[in-house]
């Protein structure tokens, strides 16, 4: 279980580092958050089966990931409207 989550986490890190498209970077972030969820659930199942805390952390992480994805997609669509592109290299308006 931990092997799966480790591999998935670093797949997400690799995707985040190599992609230039904002939507695919968002997908990589989702992979990372999911690997964290697998970790919480696995630890709760195999080490601390008398508590439910891992489940609550998982539920809250899923909720926050949903909110974060919604806000990120709103920002991406707004950027696309003003820049006609969703590459991170083109979004340098705040560079000084």
């Amino acid at each position: 279980m931990l092997f799966i989550s480790t591999a998935l986490f670093f797949i997400g890190v690799y995707g985040f580092l190599t992609r230039k498209n904002m939507i695919t970077m968002l997908m990589a972030i989702e992979l990372i958050l999911n690997s964290v969820n697998i970790n919480f659930v696995a630890f709760n199942k195999y080490l601390y089966a008398d508590k439910l805390d891992g489940l609550f952390f998982t539920i809250f992480i899923i909720t926050i990931a949903a909110a974060e994805a919604a806000v990120a997609i709103a920002i991406i669509i707004h950027l696309y409207r003003s820049l006609k592109s969703i590459d991170v290299d083109d979004a340098d308006l705040m560079k000084f």
Binding site: V13, Y14, R19, I23, V41, L47, F60, V71, A74
Partner: protein, 158 residues
């Protein structure tokens, strides 16, 4: 299925296919939760991720891309060094995981049923989760309002 879907999701050149691979990876994770007998978490995973986030991502792909065009390849040295970093970090982490001995608790297990989850989540006693629950609800409200404010189309006078 999880690992393969994840790898294809971060390496596929077509963004729509990457979204579909991500969908398969998330479904694999949901089946993993079913395998661990955490049906409620699996249901939440399917509803929120597969039903919500992936659909949202696919919609935004349709809004921002002409369908079927390929993304440019990642820069070679960047892909190389990111891949090396990911592989070595995975190896190091797996090494630590295999060396570490985990000690499971000796107490009796609690059934992860929806009833237990709901009772503990909404209880105000010592181990209750009512405060994070309310904070998360405020966060969701703020995200909702923020999305509308960000994505609203401002009418400009012609």
């Amino acid at each position: 299925m999880i690992i393969g879907g994840g790898i294809l999701a971060v390496t596929s050149r077509k963004i729509f296919r990457a979204a579909i691979y991500l969908l398969f990876s998330l479904l694999g994770i949901a089946s993993l939760y079913f395998y661990l007998n955490y049906e409620f978490i699996a249901a939440v995973q399917i509803v929120v991720y597969v039903g919500g986030i992936v659909v949202l991502i696919i919609f935004s792909v349709f809004l921002t891309h002409a369908s079927g065009d390929e993304m440019q390849k990642p820069v070679l040295w960047r892909a190389l060094f990111s891949g090396l970093a990911a592989v070595f970090a995975t190896a190091l982490t797996l090494l630590y995981i295999t060396e570490h001995t985990f000690i499971p608790t000796a107490n009796a297990a609690v059934a992860p049923s929806v009833k237990n989850i709901g009772l503990q989540m909404l209880s105000t006693t010592q181990y209750g989760y009512i405060l994070p629950f309310e904070v998360v609800s405020m966060l969701l409200l703020a995200a909702l309002v923020g999305c509308i404010v960000i994505a609203i189309k401002i009418k400009t006078k012609e």
